[in-house]
């Protein structure tokens, strides 16, 4: 399957998968590529309308995350194939067309709706367990609330070139031996440079009974404590 996908070949997904994504709130993008008036009459709830003839010029409307699960459906397999080829070329690796389209969806007893469809794709990837939002992290870095502590888990030499003001530095590899230096009565927020070590520290602290979250993003800090956070 990985080789098949990598070669850009057509991939089908089932209505069971779509139903589960909807029921469990698993982030996904559903696109109705039929003509707008046809989609208006009857479509799957939550679908975004991008008719096939507009698709090629709609690249900017697609999510930044190339791993976003995208499901397209149409009235004919040929149109699905055509749409698949267009979107797959943009690098979306988790792209599929809905096997049996809206007919199979209805046949499985699932509801359809009528009326206007959304035309804007909204995709918010699910955070990893323990991940703090960038905005909340920034808020804590600015206001430094007394019940929270930012823990810089980079190595000492990395931290010496600049740390967030109010943060404490304990490298990931030393955490288990330095638990006594980490307050239990505060929520700990870990960060490193990319989120990898911060996540490891999160697991160590969580196992040790701490209330903890981590920053899953790239962060650059200068010697004055000024910082920049980016996420791909």
């Amino acid at each position: 399957m990985p080789a098949w996908k990598k070669a850009g070949n057509l991939v089908a997904s089932t209505v069971i998968n779509l139903k589960e994504a909807m029921d469990k709130d698993i982030p996904h993008v559903l696109i109705d590529i039929r003509p707008a008036d046809e989609a208006k009459k009857e479509h799957i709830k939550g679908a975004v309308s991008i008719p096939l003839n507009e698709l090629a010029t709609s690249k900017d409307r697609f999510p930044a995350d190339k791993k976003a699960p995208i499901i397209i459906y149409c009235s004919t397999v040929k149109a699905s194939e055509e749409a698949f080829a267009v979107v797959r070329k943009w690098g979306y690796s988790n792209l599929s067309y809905l096997d049996g389209s809206i007919e199979a969806w209805k046949k499985a007893g699932n509801p359809v709706v009528s009326g206007d469809l959304a035309t804007t794709i909204v995709y918010v990837p699910k955070p990893r367990p323990g991940e703090i939002s960038i905005d909340e992290f920034k808020g804590i870095a600015e206001t430094k609330p007394g019940d929270k502590l930012i823990l810089d888990v980079r190595d000492v030499d990395e931290a010496s070139s600049g740390m967030l003001i109010g943060a404490r530095n304990i490298p990931t590899k030393d955490i288990t031996s330095k638990l006594s230096d980490i307050p239990k009565d505060k929520e700990i927020i870990t960060h490193c440079i990319t989120g990898v070590r911060a996540e490891m520290a999160y697991h160590q602290l969580k196992e040790a009974g701490y209330k903890v979250r981590f920053l899953n993003a790239d962060i650059k800090i200068d010697k004055d404590g000024k910082y920049e956070i980016t996420k791909e």
Binding site: M1, P2, N9, V11, A12, S13, I16, S96, A208
Partner: protein
């Protein structure tokens, strides 16, 4: 039971809420974190000294590997003497790739003596079909091409995305689903899974 440093082990138990205190003050054994992921059990027996699961990440600076085994996350330290097989370097291992880590205890932490990346299955070349040939068959359609394509991965993976026209028979439930295969024994059968390659 794997031994960890006393302080850490106690903290872990408390954190997990599994510290069962009986009336006389003695403690009951908690449910241990799994050391082998369910799919790995198809071919490997559980082993106290080997962690089997999906590669979740690595930090060279922290000298730590993260492995996901079902719901559990394990952190294992490594060093220059950790033997890596199946990949040139840790950072070259794809996320979620099946790996096995031979572990020992060192200074109160788990330490990797060896890490091996699951190798591709050995299949005789005459039994292999290339993706290119398969895509020609798929384009032809199952009837005209006179073949049946079987997705051997778990049903949920099939639902998420499969090769058009494939039927789903999860390998672990193959015996009881053999009836789904075509009756004509001379028909071409093509199987695929999450990657021999």
């Amino acid at each position: 039971m794997f031994k960890k440093s006393t302080t850490l082990a106690t903290a872990v138990l408390v954190a997990a809420g599994l510290f069962l205190l009986s009336s006389d003050g003695t403690t009951a054994e908690p449910a241990p974190k799994p050391k082998i992921a369910a799919p790995c059990k198809q071919c490997h027996a559980p082993d106290e000294k080997i962690l089997r699961g999906g590669f979740a990440g690595v930090s060279k600076k922290a000298e730590t590997i993260q492995i996901q085994i079902g719901p559990a996350t394990w952190l294992v330290k490594f060093g220059d003497d950790t033997k890596l097989t199946g990949a040139e370097k840790f950072s070259a291992i794809p996320k979620e790739k099946e790996i096995a880590i031979a572990v020992t205890e060192k200074e109160g932490s788990l330490y990797a003596t060896g890490v091996s990346v699951k190798p591709p299955a050995k299949i005789a070349p005459e039994k292999l079909m290339t993706t290119e040939d398969l895509s020609k068959l798929v384009a032809m359609g199952a009837d005209k091409g006179n073949f049946t394509l079987v997705d051997s991965r778990p049903g949920a993976r099939y639902n998420e995305g499969h090769i058009p026209g494939a039927i789903s028979i999860y390998d672990a439930e193959f015996e009881k689903n053999a009836g789904k295969l075509p009756k004509e024994k001379d028909k071409l059968l093509v199987f695929y899974c999450a990657g021999a390659t």
